[in-house]
């Protein structure tokens, strides 16, 4: 009992030192709390795949009232804006190359005549395929264009969008952002701070004191655990306040998931610092091993099921995908433990594994 309280006291002492260290350097706090807000504003307002005044070139070879109506109907929704009316196909390419237009509508002569005779009237939509996100969105609108002329069809489909009926991108991005921000802070801050201690030889000094290895590790990580949870709370509050991100599920479950994720991320940062022992190297390794998986291999931006299988396997190793899945489940779908337990198990397995390896590496380094 005495031994346990002593161990706790030593851990608390290390943690208190670390807290002071963080507080002394305001740039850490700035990164931890300023960055998430900047990111969420940028993502929430800036990242949109919706077409909005996309620059459109119109090549109207028909020159009739009907063809002009068609061009006008495209701009009515404000998805497109007619920026140029080139004289020929050559002109369209020139506009694409100089990025003045990213889509072009070509109405060939005889368009109105075809319509009048009740035939199929072909129009051509040209897209700048070098800007794929835009091209994808225009492709969607092109199908709508075809559909517009039929009238009431015998088979009518109603598409109901669940969980995010207004299709706002913030609702989709906020869960991913929470994971992203927590991964940056947890992995890189721990990796950098602990690597600095290695660089300066402070850790060797600490090892000569009665403080145990586990106590050092726990004491170092505890403040960053607190920091990470505060970050999650911050992103969540800003997300719900600014962008109406719903919280349909259990907040306790959400914080439990965040805790599991954080422990894994902190362990990863610790492991990186113990292996690299240099801040410059730790940054690069940390960036590749935490930011890349959280950003790319997590379902944050790109659906995992579309990836080739080796990347899917890789995505299953990193805990970010489990965390984002759990966050979306809890926030948007109101899912509970019954649905989300595999995610929690995945995060727990990663955390246990990485902490075990990190603690081992911590010891060997000193010898």
């Amino acid at each position: 009992m005495k031994r346990l309280t002593n161990a706790l006291r030593r851990t608390a002492a290390i943690a208190a030192k670390e807290v002071q260290h963080i507080l002394r350097d305001p740039s850490t706090l700035y990164l931890a709390f300023g960055m998430p807000v900047v990111l969420i504003v940028l993502f929430g307002y800036g990242v949109s795949f919706d077409l909005d005044h996309a620059p459109l070139a119109v090549l109207d070879q028909d020159g009739t009232a009907q063809s002009r109506d068609l061009a006008r109907s495209l701009t009515a929704t404000r998805e497109f804006e007619i920026v140029a009316t080139p004289a020929d196909a050559e002109g369209i390419e020139r506009l694409f190359r100089s990025r003045e237009a990213s889509a072009a509508l070509v109405i060939s002569s005889g368009f109105a005549e075809h319509l009048r005779r009740g035939q199929e009237a072909p129009v051509q939509v040209l897209l700048d395929g070098s800007d794929g996100t835009m091209a994808q969105a225009v492709l969607g609108s092109a199908t709508q264009l075809v559909a517009a002329t039929i009238g009431t069809p015998p088979i009518e489909a109603t598409a109901t969008l669940l969980y995010n009926p207004a299709l706002r991108s913030a609702v989709f991005f906020v869960p991913g952002l929470i994971a992203y921000v927590m991964a940056i802070a947890a992995v890189l801050l721990t990796a950098l701070t602990v690597a600095r201690e290695w660089e300066r030889g402070n850790l060797e000094l600490l090892f000569t004191t009665p403080v145990g290895r586990l106590e050092i590790v726990l004491g170092k990580l505890a403040p960053y655990l607190g920091l990470g949870l505060l970050q999650a709370l911050l992103v969540l509050s800003v997300g719900t306040a600014l962008f109406d991100v719903p919280i349909r599920g259990d907040l306790v479950l959400l914080f439990f998931a965040a805790l599991l994720f954080l422990v894994g991320m902190l362990g990863q940062g610790l492991l990186i610092s113990a292996v690299t022992r240099s801040q410059q190297l730790a940054t690069q390794v940390g960036a590749i091993s935490s930011l890349l998986p959280t950003l790319i291999l997590s379902g944050f931006l790109f659906p995992i099921e579309n990836m080739p299988w080796p990347l899917q396997v890789l995505a299953n190793i990193f805990p970010a995908r489990y965390f984002i899945d759990a966050l979306r489940g809890i926030l948007l779908k109101g899912a509970g433990l019954g649905v989300l337990w595999p995610d929690l198990a995945g995060m727990a397995a990663f955390a246990v594994f990485v902490l075990a390896v990190a603690t081992l590496k911590f010891k060997r380094g000193v010898a």
């Binding site: 990111l39 395929g129 069809p153 109901t160 240099s278």
Partner: protein
């Protein structure tokens, strides 16, 4: 004078290169990191939406409904996962993540169609990802229109048979064609974007941290008391990162070309010029970041703080024209935006200097400006 300057620059450069190459792991990271990022991005950053897992509730159960279901999944956007777990609550599969879409065919669908009534098909789509949600909704509606055409023609023919006029359905048919990237391969436009991102990370963050390390260790002050001038010192310090950056661009281009078939349609000289101008901006930013930070940790954080918005506001991930109008001006102070335009233009569209005049001028102005400002700050902090 000039020869002494060159000797000084070379001396610093040699020392700097030796320091970077001393840690073998650092070389590995500087070379390996771009390769790993490119491969992961190239394969994972897939904007194509296909094979969405779809469950069905076929309350009709006729040959007609089965044919419609087959037509819906034949085109590739939806993958038939079979019947929904519980047709009383078809959204359950979507909620639990097994399916993205649940399609409900109503009872009496075939009968309604035969009796000239409208049949209502319902689709429940997971809207969590707005892009996927919108695309799926469009595809469902598109499918219903396409499936309607034969029914409509058949009805018209029946009417025509009664009245004796020829049946005709006037309609538009749009055939979209993608220039430069006909198969709509995501890697085609992602590889140039990733190249610009990698360059920013490697040159800006590595340069700022390298300089911050010297400040942390106090070695910068020691060098200043030697006859080496500030400009020579700076040049020698940043040149290695420019070299690393150029090497990384080459690596990305070769990998992009061999692994992802990204073409190199334009002039390589133009590409090299654009890259040099961009590197001026990124190294200048790195230098600037190092002057506002006291140690490596701060340098990294400030660098990161610059990097994320630069990536988001570059047009790599989302179209710039889709951003709100108050945010769009910010993209003009982002060198990455211009470099992505240059890369995509030269690689995919064979654009020439005239097409790319604006991004080139912008990159030049930006690079000279930030490099000059950072050098001034650097000199002031040392002096």
């Amino acid at each position: 004078m000039t020869s002494r300057f060159v000797v000084q620059v070379l001396a610093v450069l040699r020392k700097e290169l030796r320091q970077i190459t001393r840690d073998k792991r650092m070389i590995a990271v500087l070379v390996l990191a771009p390769a790993v990022q490119l491969i992961v991005f190239g394969f994972a950053a897939n904007f194509e939406i296909e094979e969405l897992p779809t469950v069905f509730c076929d309350h009709d159960g006729t040959a007609r409904s089965r044919a419609l279901r087959q037509a819906l999944t034949a085109e590739g956007t939806f993958r038939d996962l079979g019947a929904a777990a519980d047709c009383a609550r078809p959204e359950l599969d979507v909620q639990q993540g097994r399916a993205r879409v649940a399609v409900v065919f109503p009872r009496g669908l075939a009968r309604d169609l035969a009796a000239d009534r409208t049949a209502h098909v319902q689709a429940l789509i997971d809207g969590t990802n707005p892009t996927v949600g919108r695309y799926a909704a469009n595809a469902i509606v598109g499918w219903s229109r396409a499936a309607s055409m034969p029914v409509l023609t058949e009805r018209l023919e029946r009417v025509a048979g009664l009245t004796g006029t020829a049946p005709s359905v006037a309609r538009l048919s749009a055939e979209p064609r993608l220039l430069y990237n006909p198969a709509m391969e995501s890697s085609m436009f992602m590889v140039p974007g990733v190249a610009a991102m990698i360059l920013l990370v490697v040159t800006m963050i590595a340069a700022s941290m390298g300089l911050a390390r010297e400040r942390e260790a106090g070695t910068l002050e020691q060098v200043i008391v030697t006859p080496i001038g500030v400009v020579a010192l700076l040049l020698g310090k940043v040149l290695p990162f420019v070299l690393v950056g150029l090497f990384d661009v080459l690596l990305v281009l070769v990998l992009g070309n061999s692994v992802f078939d990204v073409p190199i349609r334009g002039s390589l000289a133009l590409l090299a010029l654009g890259t040099l101008l961009y590197l001026m901006s990124t190294v200048g930013l790195g230098l600037f970041v190092s002057t506002v930070s006291r140690n490596q940790q701060q340098a990294f954080m400030v660098g990161f703080f610059v990097m994320m918005p630069a990536v988001l506001l570059s047009g790599v991930m989302t179209p710039i024209s889709s951003m709100p109008s108050w945010l769009q001006p910010l993209t003009y102070v982002n060198p990455m935006r211009y470099y992505v335009e240059v890369l995509r233009g030269v690689l995919l569209k064979a654009a020439d200097l005239q097409d790319l005049a604006f991004p080139f001028v912008a990159l030049g102005v930006y690079g000279a400006g930030i490099l000059g400002m950072a050098s001034l700050r650097f000199r002031k902090r040392l002096g």
